[in-house]
């Protein structure tokens, strides 16, 4: 009888059974991997013992490409780094060039940049909230968030012509001023005239009117998301006390942005090292207390409300103060088209600017912006040429993902997804 039992389990009485941890792949093709992340997980039963993220599957050598192109040609590549917060990436790059050139954009351009930075922050946090709730089992919030993203992407489109990869910020200002008319929908076989009239209801005025209307509605919409999540029992079970990181450890691991603020460190470059006109803006820095997924969720939701406040202040200022949005230096910014028709010099400037670009004085500079995900920095080395000698992008998500192993060790397999999406990672930026 005893013999029979042993033969079933394959182990004899004097042998201790060999127990090995199970190692398996998560991704690179997994909807909750937020892109192309290959995560090698070692589990002991249901508990994570080790997580080894393999990145680089989206490595496009943006920095190397930039070394082979005139400065302005790379602005478009910046959009494609973190492709859910496009204009903030451009901002970091443009600031680094401006620092080396020693130029400051006109005040109106600075306000436009701040406004679009905050629109971008809302865009990013909405996508993050959508994905985070979906990963934790909530479908409705995903749909609501995308409804609002649609309006903000329309703002992108109205100002730059592109819904995502805008290439709108340029060294010395922004590409063009805000449009006086918000583009409207036209009747089609999917939408009749009555439906279209309803869609166009808040698009009768300028872009600023449309944004103002959005900011009027938006806090109520954030309340809606919060009513679905913040006190939801299942949501709290999935996020509270999951992926806790202490403030000291977060700093040691190089965390910035909401990942750091979620642990209670009130560090925000917009307040501490203000760039553009952030020092004139009235807003608060939300911070968490526990440093868990739930606190990071609260921080980001609150940041959307703060961004809404900043946008309203910018809209008010921009309505009252017309003016130039680009510096008046044809060595750096191309001359207006009208002038090119009558001025030979303007034509030459335009030709040189479009072919060769401008030369940036020798030196090195690091410019950082408070990107929705953390500190986005651009380290630029110039040897005096029309191309960057070396460009290094300090991606906000890179150290966050590097800290993943520490965040999820000891948690269950199901928590991997919750922690991973609370990092707010995008592989365009991490892999570069």
């Amino acid at each position: 009888m005893q013999n029979n039992e042993n033969s079933i389990s394959g182990v004899t009485a004097d042998q201790t059974p060999e127990i090995r941890n199970y190692v398996f792949n998560f991704g690179p093709q997994h909807p909750a991997a937020h892109g192309v992340l290959r995560l090698i997980l070692e589990v002991d039963g249901e508990t994570i013992v080790r997580a080894d993220p393999h990145v680089g599957l989206l490595h496009r050598a943006t920095e190397k490409l930039a070394e082979n192109k005139p400065f302005n040609h790379t602005i478009g590549y910046m959009d494609r780094l973190d492709y859910v917060s496009m204009m903030c990436n451009e901002h970091g790059y443009v600031l680094a060039i401006e620092k080396l050139l020693g130029i400051t954009p006109p005040l109106r351009a600075q306000y436009i940049r701040v406004m679009f930075d905050e629109i971008t922050r809302i865009l990013n946090h909405l996508l993050w909230l959508a994905a985070h709730s979906l990963d934790n089992g909530g479908m409705a919030v995903f749909l609501y968030c995308f409804r609002e993203r649609e309006d903000l992407l329309d703002c992108y489109e109205a100002v730059s012509g592109a819904r995502m990869h805008a290439t709108y910020y340029r060294p010395g200002g922004v590409y063009r001023d805000l449009p006086d008319k918000m583009p409207q929908f036209k009747p089609s076989k999917w939408h009749n005239a009555k439906e279209v009239a309803k869609l166009n209801d808040n698009r009768q005025g300028s872009l600023l009117d449309f944004i103002w209307d959005f900011t009027e509605r938006f806090p109520g919409l954030v309340d809606e998301y919060e009513s679905l999540l913040t006190n939801n029992r299942i949501w709290k079970q999935r996020t509270v006390d999951i992926g806790i990181i202490s403030p000291e450890r977060a700093i040691a691991l190089g965390f910035t942005g909401p990942m750091l603020r979620g642990s209670g460190v009130a560090w925000d470059l917009r307040k501490k090292q203000p760039y553009e006109v952030y020092d004139k803006m009235d807003f608060d820095i939300p911070v968490g207390t526990n440093g868990d997924c739930y606190d990071r969720y609260l921080v980001r939701v609150n940041e959307m409300r703060q961004s809404n406040r900043i946008i309203r202040q910018c809209v008010e200022w921009l309505r009252k103060n017309p003016g130039p949005v680009m510096i008046d230096d044809y060595k750096i910014a191309p001359p207006p088209r009208e002038e090119m028709k009558i001025s030979m010099e303007a034509l030459i400037h335009h030709f040189k600017n479009m072919t060769e670009g401008y030369n940036v004085p020798e030196g090195e500079a690091y410019a950082a912006v408070e990107h929705p995900k953390g500190e986005f920095g651009v380290y630029l080395v110039s040897d005096g040429a029309n191309k960057p000698y070396r460009l290094k992008v300090r991606a906000a998500g890179f150290p966050h993902l590097a800290g993943l192993n520490e965040l999820i060790r000891g948690h269950m397999i199901a928590d991997v997804v919750a922690v991973l999406s609370s990092l707010d990672i995008v592989f365009g930026e991490i892999d570069r």
């Binding site: 990145v55 082979n68 190089g254 501490k272 090292q273 060769e356 690091y366 070396r390």
Partner: protein, 230 residues
């Protein structure tokens, strides 16, 4: 926020034996550290009450092989006529910098609200190695792996120096200046072998926009030198 010039003098007086120089340019402080003293200086910068650089923002490799060399000899070609005049020699060497490779660290203090940039030149090109700062800032782990992957610089004491960005089985260090932009191999699916094969690239490298260095008099001082660099 500590004034960057004050910080510069502090670093000068405290570490004069350990550093090559400390300069302020574009409102930012750059300290060139002697490689043998990197860990000493980093530890003090992190722990000393005057500095408190608790956060390592970034580690970045730089290859100065082509520093200050342009593709297009503008002055010469315009005298004899117009031509693209693009040189494509990837192995030409610049003498502008003391060493070919350097590693650059960006540090940030959240309490003092100041930043510093450290640069370490690697003197021996045969043995590209610097000390790993992972024991001081754990966040250096992936940054140093990235520098190793892209530049081939080794970090003494790093426990897990694997490639991070490039493909499994990749050969070479792609961000070196002598590594061509189009790469060295291309992949395709071979129907006969029923697998992906790697072959040498079949296209020619092109320079679309030549690199041009013009000495713009707006950025020169009276001596004819670049005003920001000094």
């Amino acid at each position: 926020m500590t004034d960057v010039n004050v910080l510069c003098t502090q670093i000068h007086s405290r570490f004069s034996a350990w550093i090559e120089n400390a300069t302020v340019a574009f409102g930012q402080l750059t300290v060139e550290v002697k490689p043998e003293h990197l860990l000493d200086i980093c530890r003090i910068l992190r722990d000393d009450a005057d500095f408190e650089f608790k956060l390592l923002v970034d580690v970045c490799g730089v290859d100065y092989l082509h520093y200050g060399l342009d593709d297009w000899q503008t002055e010469k070609t315009t005298a004899t006529g117009f031509g693209r005049g693009v040189t494509r020699d990837l192995m030409r060497e610049s003498a502008a910098k003391p060493c070919r490779f350097a590693v650059v660290y960006h540090l940030l203090s959240l309490t003092k609200n100041h930043r510093v940039r450290l640069r370490v030149y690697i003197p021996d090109e045969k043995e590209l190695m610097v000390d790993s700062v992972m024991d001081i800032w754990p966040s250096a782990n992936w940054y140093e792996r990235e520098v190793f992957d892209l530049f081939g610089i080794l970090f003494r004491g790093h426990p897990d120096l694997r490639r991070i960005m490039t493909d499994y089985g990749f050969v070479g260090h792609p961000f070196r200046k002598d590594f061509p932009l189009i790469g060295k191999v291309e992949a395709r699916y071979d129907a006969k072998l029923k697998r992906v094969v790697y072959e040498p690239v079949s296209i020619d490298a092109r320079v679309l926009e030549p690199k041009v260095i013009r000495h713009d008099n707006r950025y020169l001082n009276e001596q004819g030198e670049s005003s920001h660099a000094k």
